[in-house]
Symmetry: C2
Subunit: 375 residues, 2 copies
Amino acid sequence: MKHKVAILGSGNWGSAIAKVVGQNVRQHPELFEDEVRMYVYEELVDGERYLTSIINTNHENVKYLPGVKLPDNIVADPDPIRTAEDATLLIFVLPHQFVNSLCHKLKGKLHHRAKAISLIKGMAFNEKGPVLISSIIEDILGIDVSVLCGANIAKDVAWEHFSETTVGYKDKEVAQVWKQVFHSPSFNVGLVEDIAGVELCGALKNIIAVGLGMADGLGAGANTKAAIMRIGLAEMRRFAETFFKGVKQETFFESCGVADLIVTCFFGRNRKVAAAFVKQKKSFEQLEKEMLHGQKLQGTLTAQEVNTILKRANLTHRHNFTPCLLRLVMRKFPLMTTIYEVCFEKKDPHSLTDSGIASPHALALLQHPPRSGSV
Amino acid sequence: MKHKVAILGSGNWGSAIAKVVGQNVRQHPELFEDEVRMYVYEELVDGERYLTSIINTNHENVKYLPGVKLPDNIVADPDPIRTAEDATLLIFVLPHQFVNSLCHKLKGKLHHRAKAISLIKGMAFNEKGPVLISSIIEDILGIDVSVLCGANIAKDVAWEHFSETTVGYKDKEVAQVWKQVFHSPSFNVGLVEDIAGVELCGALKNIIAVGLGMADGLGAGANTKAAIMRIGLAEMRRFAETFFKGVKQETFFESCGVADLIVTCFFGRNRKVAAAFVKQKKSFEQLEKEMLHGQKLQGTLTAQEVNTILKRANLTHRHNFTPCLLRLVMRKFPLMTTIYEVCFEKKDPHSLTDSGIASPHALALLQHPPRSGSV
């Protein structure tokens, strides 16, 4: 039986990946049905035509990925249930605030062999710590969920510039199927058995990019910027290892780790806005209005969530932890904590580029990360 | 008994590190003698005064690190034997082509407790494979040799911009002494028990920076550049693991690994000249004349050495290897091999930014690096 692929989401990244997937399933007609349905949130473009109609007629998402032709086997559909119900492979690629309600709509209506992959960036959390978006999907729908994340600026992928990406999986056989869905000569898929590691990289890198932007704003030198990125990668790893079992060191050498961090730090909006924050001394709210048309910056949001998680991890272990140990948990993450404090507690950004982020104690910890579950 | 430190070399990096070390020994008068001798290759500056005399009077290396005041306990000496003979801690920081002859001069004339550290970038090789500069020093002088390498642009270190570095060691107690020699609030020292890993990072990163420059010259996008750096880091690791025992994955997360690669790729001359090579279609020789006053580019030189080593590793294992396996060894290092071929065998640089560097086979190997000694 052939696989049928559906894409849930049609923004910039969703449309770029639709091009990759549409071309790929055509390369393997023995494995995949030709048609790939894509759920498109319906909207009028220029008050005239519906976006789904434009995509299905002109084969271009003129609103979110203009200038890129989509293969004609990509069929836009405004109904998520109709898009998903007979698919065996579901690609989730929508903003993370819509995941919950979409999954509840789809619950009980999916193919019995359905499997999913999440391309969603972001992080949720509860009183116990961070919650993976992929596990929210898994919990609601009761299906296997892999993740895909990498150094993937959407328009470069759409233009078929050579890119790498990483699929995190639980089941190797399922991972091989996802590789066939995504892998091409210009979009190379690496596989790693570590869902938490891959997904957390995608969320946490944005915090580090904010730190790099602040360093930029202060006119920091190259050594300092490289140190911030290195310490950032080490803290990303420690965060993942602290809150999840089975996180692999190897993951952070993959495209989702070091490569995505480089792309985000050197070419992303988090860095640009954070540099303006330091130089112009305006609030992030103000800058989001001026620079992002009111959109929220991902990095500051995640910095806030991570800080809440670090504080709570402590609070929920109240009986084991003294106030002194609260400081220790924070100091295990000196960079992320300092970035949060600069963003939200008026801390002097210079504390990022002086030795505040790397006290000898913190450095010793960085060199000997705690093992999983050792908060 | 107090330690006495001597510095062998006084170029840009040697002078910057002299400032760090001179200040540090003053911070720990209980551990170190105040005076730090620095061997300076004697030369006339502007046909008037000797460089040693300028350094000892004005406390500035006007030739190689102008504008930076050195502490007055740094004493320039044109005689390497007088500089080194009563020191217990020797810092080697001179161009690698001078190491052999200097060590032979010093042989039999050192303090019986003398230990050394090498800050030298570069690589040697013999018929068996790569030879570490630190082991050349060790073999000639018969003393313990550690290494120091990191994301350290010399003038940023001299200006005390926050920087990190890595010391690779064999003996933990000795490493702690070196940490006291170098560590300061603005120059953070990480320790790792992996001399080969640390030293090879310093040599191999320059090849990757040449690759990044070529990608630049072709106008490659961010995803492609990040992929080149990621694959480069993976090949650096594989090269080290292939030729040396005890290389640690952790090393590549330290300042000498990912951070130094970032600094070299984004801010170094290897990238700039390689971009010109692709854009201007001139030879490297010509570009070295025009852009580097005739100095040799490190990255192309090392690419050549590594290629020789890869070919020889094969030749020396003639009885085990078929011609097909020769190709396999090269394909374990698709990026470094392609960079070499673009530099010296007129290969089209586009093979770097299309999928040539990451065939599925090569990628599979990248994900499962061979263990030590498995050439």
